[in-house]
Symmetry: C2
Amino acid sequence: TTRIIAIANQKGGVGKTTTAVNLAACLAAAERRTLLLDIDPQGNATSGLGFAQAAGPGVYELLAGEAKVAEAARPTSVPGLDLVPASDRLIGAELELASAPRREARLKEALNVEAEGYAYVVIDCPPSLGLLTVNALTAAHSVLIPLQCEYYALEGLARIIDAVRLCRMRLNPGLAIEGIVLTMYDARLNLCEQVEQEVRRHFPREVFRTVIPRNVRLSEASSFGKPVILYDIRSAGAEGYLRLAKEIIDGAAKS
Amino acid sequence: TTRIIAIANQKGGVGKTTTAVNLAACLAAAERRTLLLDIDPQGNATSGLGFAQAAGPGVYELLAGEAKVAEAARPTSVPGLDLVPASDRLIGAELELASAPRREARLKEALNVEAEGYAYVVIDCPPSLGLLTVNALTAAHSVLIPLQCEYYALEGLARIIDAVRLCRMRLNPGLAIEGIVLTMYDARLNLCEQVEQEVRRHFPREVFRTVIPRNVRLSEASSFGKPVILYDIRSAGAEGYLRLAKEIIDGAAKS
Ligand SMILES: Nc1ncnc2c1ncn2[C@@H]1O[C@H](COP(=O)(O)OP(=O)(O)OP(=O)(O)O)[C@@H](O)[C@H]1O
Ligand SMILES: Nc1ncnc2c1ncn2[C@@H]1O[C@H](COP(=O)(O)OP(=O)(O)OP(=O)(O)O)[C@@H](O)[C@H]1O
Ligand SMILES: [Mg+2]
Ligand SMILES: [Mg+2]
């Protein structure tokens, strides 16, 4: 069966896109056919895989019911990884969806039958808890929460956990937490250690063993439109995401 | 006269809140009475100045016309700096505003007479170009754009510049660009140098001379609810924001 994982956190710049692109690439490298959906109007996951503003249907057309996954998904530079790209049409989508019927379930309906051929579907979300993210939480089996080891990010963790709980109550009873992954970890900084201890104390079962280190090769890779395993497979960033993919494949959802 | 500066960029995690809090504190330290508005539902600028979820009126009440600035502004640990805090009521504000009359001008109307006693008003925006940010762009005389020296942030720069142009055309003819400030600059990384060269080539007049270095004291300060000049005035982060404040006080808007 297909496992749909949303990568979400309303705090900005915590590594959602970097995690979505690189985890999806590592799952495909482990021979699990994977589909990546870029539902962020910024379109960073789309450019992070080397696509300019793509012509043809994308996520907007899926939400509007104008295209099926099979027409919107395109192959990427990674064998076994397909992408449904974002487009500028997504910018107005939240206001358009606000008054539409079944507005929270549009993505779920689009993925219902279509995603059968994939082992994993990974969804990159924008830095907000608006209708685009709610659509992802409603369609997903679980949520993976990237967490930067910083005070503001830690402060926002309760808000995304609450949003997941609310979504489980009202829209998607089966929604689980895939896990919390610490990102941009710099072992030389006390702040990182303090945040890690705090998070592991409050969420002992949810935090992945794998910690993603701060590694400039991850940023450089995105500027070349490649996941880090194609840019520099020996880097600490590549190793981190290969280990995270293995931890996800091996484990059931955290909670 | 009062100068209203919005700190905006839809890209997440580029240093909007860190710039808003520390620039406002440095302007106050230079004896310019300053008001900081936290219009981001995350409320990071509010906690970054040591306020828990504040009771009493805040930004939401300003937008709803239920309170005046004088009732919502409170003194902070920095002499000469007042804050109008965010609150959880802001979370639903964008959907509520969507169908309200004069929805883009609510903040402008609230600040019209009220802000007289301040030399500067600084507005911290959320990571989106929705109605809260549009309210800030409509109320402001100028926009200060923090830019992280990363590829995804550079990619998003055209979008915020377009949004400013659109707002100038439709809602606020006087809106200028105060400037683009490079943040989290790490001189050891080639990527930072490349992004800096690229930005200075495309926007020679807009980019501030001052560059804010990556400096953990900025993050640590926020976890103590203090601007960096009260936490560690000798740090590279404090120096950066003192210089930025001076550059703003000395110069007219960039364009
Ligand atoms: N482990 C890491 N080491 C170094 N840089 C990183 C790492 N993870 C992400 N980055 C960089 O940090 C920036 C923020 O990451 P990213 O854009 O993935 O976050 P995001 O949560 O998707 O942001 P947004 O909230 O805007 O969607 C990017 O420029 C990215 O290249
Ligand atoms: N110059 C700097 N050096 C080191 N860390 C920094 C610097 N500027 C900001 N930070 C840290 O980086 C993180 C992101 O910064 P900040 O929260 O200010 O960005 P933002 O644009 O306001 O994010 P959001 O899009 O979520 O509103 C914070 O944890 C902050 O402490
Ligand atoms: Mg992103
Ligand atoms: Mg912020």
